[in-house]
């Protein structure tokens, strides 16, 4: 039986979290899984840097402690640019995109391949410029 242990995460190194992949079934080609917990406080992500093993599906659990709404958008530069210029006020919970109303906890998943250059950000007006973004390092397994 294939079973999945979602071990995860979290070695804090000066604001960087290392995500350890979950264990998959022996010989399985399936993606590993992991969970990353992000906290939003004062319109900033904590942590603002995450290290993820390649070929891992990560569930991002986002706790918004602010009294204002935010969002989490995960993707490459093109995705971030599209959302920065876009006008979507609200994102349904789809892979890599989720709105996080004030005082709530939401989650979304994103599957990382081997490519780097993935970031996460909030693109509500003024939020990205204020510093509401983080980076992901994808490391080879």
């Amino acid at each position: 039986m294939k079973w999945l242990v979602t071990a995860l995460v979290v070695v804090a190194l000066a604001g960087t979290f290392l995500v350890e992949q979950a264990v998959t079934g022996a010989g399985s080609a399936a993606k590993a899984t992991a969970t990353v917990h992000l906290t939003i406080r004062h319109s900033r992500f904590e942590p603002d840097h995450v290290v993820v093993p390649a070929d891992t599906t990560v569930t991002f659990v986002v706790d918004n402690t602010d009294p204002i709404g935010h969002e989490l958008i995960i993707g490459d530069a093109g995705v971030q640019e599209r959302h920065e210029k876009g006008t979507e006020p609200y994102h349904p919970p789809r892979p890599g995109e989720v709105s996080v109303p004030a005082g709530t906890t939401q989650q979304t998943t994103f599957t990382f391949g081997t490519a780097n250059g993935i970031t996460y950000a909030c693109h509500l007006p003024g939020h990205f410029a204020y510093g509401m973004h983080g980076t992901v390092d994808v490391t080879s397994r």
Binding site: S43, D66, P67, I68, L124, Y130
Partner: protein
């Protein structure tokens, strides 16, 4: 003249052609924030008068008549015992005092954080077309109340609200009732002066709030007037705040102020201090603290220079043998940059006239 302590967009209908700016007692700079981030800065004016342990904040809210509907929240040093329409010409008269112009023309024109899930509403009142609410709560609770009541907070608002709530959990939220404004025939530029009577231990003027929602490179300009029984000691956070006038208020000025509505408390002798704010928004991370007690320096915490959690041992600046009246402290190093005499002028020393 506009003062806009906390610029908060009202998330109400974009069609509402209203903007709100505050000439705040607690702050002093204007400008309107639109949905697209457009901001118009204007020099604004504030009076914080302190007499018999009571601070009188006089501020003005201006009906813009165009653009987004904007509301404001002002941090206060204590719970007001009265919120009422202010005098009609007090702020203008103070401006005239420090920048005299043609008299005839001017006179024509002169006519600790609470642990609660939600903010506590202490007072609700309406002045002209302004709906005013006095709130008590932590930054998160006040921010939540604001969003639930149609305010659209800028991304820096959570941090700024926390900053102020750690110093005083009292806030004033104000917004124009667009329909009421129209019904009253208010035109763009019409101001509604507000006076708050606040018992407190020392005068205090929030300045950091003026930078809310602004790009860091934006220049914040404001005029802050203090009226006190004696010459105050002042403490601000950094360069960008300058002492322009410090001296006994003239009898003529005090008589003029006293004759305005709700200004009969103005004593026969007062010390007038005029502070000009001209700082980049990114640098305006401090407030203006004052002391009117000869044996106490202004509070570092009130000036925003130390975290309230660590303020116990460093509440005030050490007294100095030097005669300092005006302290400008660097945020990190408490660098004194501007000085004047610290000798407190007593009433008997004043030249009244």
């Amino acid at each position: 003249m506009l003062t806009r302590p906390l610029r908060l967009l009202m998330a109400t209908s974009a069609a509402a052609a209203l903007s709100l700016a505050i000439a705040g007692p607690a702050s002093a700079c204007g400008g309107l924030v639109g949905e697209n981030g457009t901001i118009q800065l204007e020099r604004t004016t504030t009076l914080a008068a302190y007499h018999d342990g009571v601070e009188h904040y006089v501020t003005s809210f201006e009906f813009s008549g165009q653009g987004e509907e904007v509301g404001s929240i002002i941090p206060l040093p204590g719970v007001p015992t009265a919120v009422e329409r202010g005098g009609s010409w007090t702020l203008q008269r103070l401006e005239r005092e420090v920048a005299p112009v043609d008299t005839a023309l001017r006179f024509e024109a002169a006519g600790a954080p609470v642990a609660a899930d939600s903010a506590q509403v202490l007072l609700e009142t309406t002045v002209d077309a302004l709906d005013i609410t006095i709130l008590k709560g932590g930054g998160t609770e006040v921010g939540r109340w604001a969003t639930e009541h149609g305010f659209l907070l800028t991304p820096d608002a959570p941090e700024v609200l926390d900053y102020y709530s750690q110093r005083s959990p009292i806030f004033m939220a104000a917004r124009f009732d667009a329909a009421a404004a129209r019904a009253r025939g208010q035109q763009a530029g019409d101001g509604t002066p507000i006076e708050l009577t606040i018992p407190t231990t020392a005068p205090w003027v929030p300045l950091r709030i003026l930078s809310l929602g602004l790009d860091g490179a934006r220049q914040v300009k404001a005029d802050v007037f203090l009226l006190t029984d004696d010459r105050p000691q002042l403490l601000a956070g950094a360069n960008g705040v300058t002492l322009q006038r410090s001296g006994p208020a003239s009898t003529r000025l005090l008589d003029d102020l006293r004759s305005d509505a709700h200004m009969d408390w103005v004593p026969s002798q007062q010390w007038l201090t005029y502070v000009a704010v001209d700082a980049k928004a990114a640098d305006l991370h401090y407030d203006l603290a004052a002391s009117v007690q000869p044996d106490r320096s202004p509070s570092l915490m009130a000036a925003g220079l130390v975290d309230p959690a660590h303020a116990a041992a460093t509440t005030t600046l050490p007294r100095s043998d030097a005669s300092w009246e005006w302290w400008v402290a660097g945020a990190a190093a408490v660098t004194l940059a501007v000085a004047a005499t610290r000798r407190r002028a007593r009433a008997r020393d004043r030249s009244v006239g």
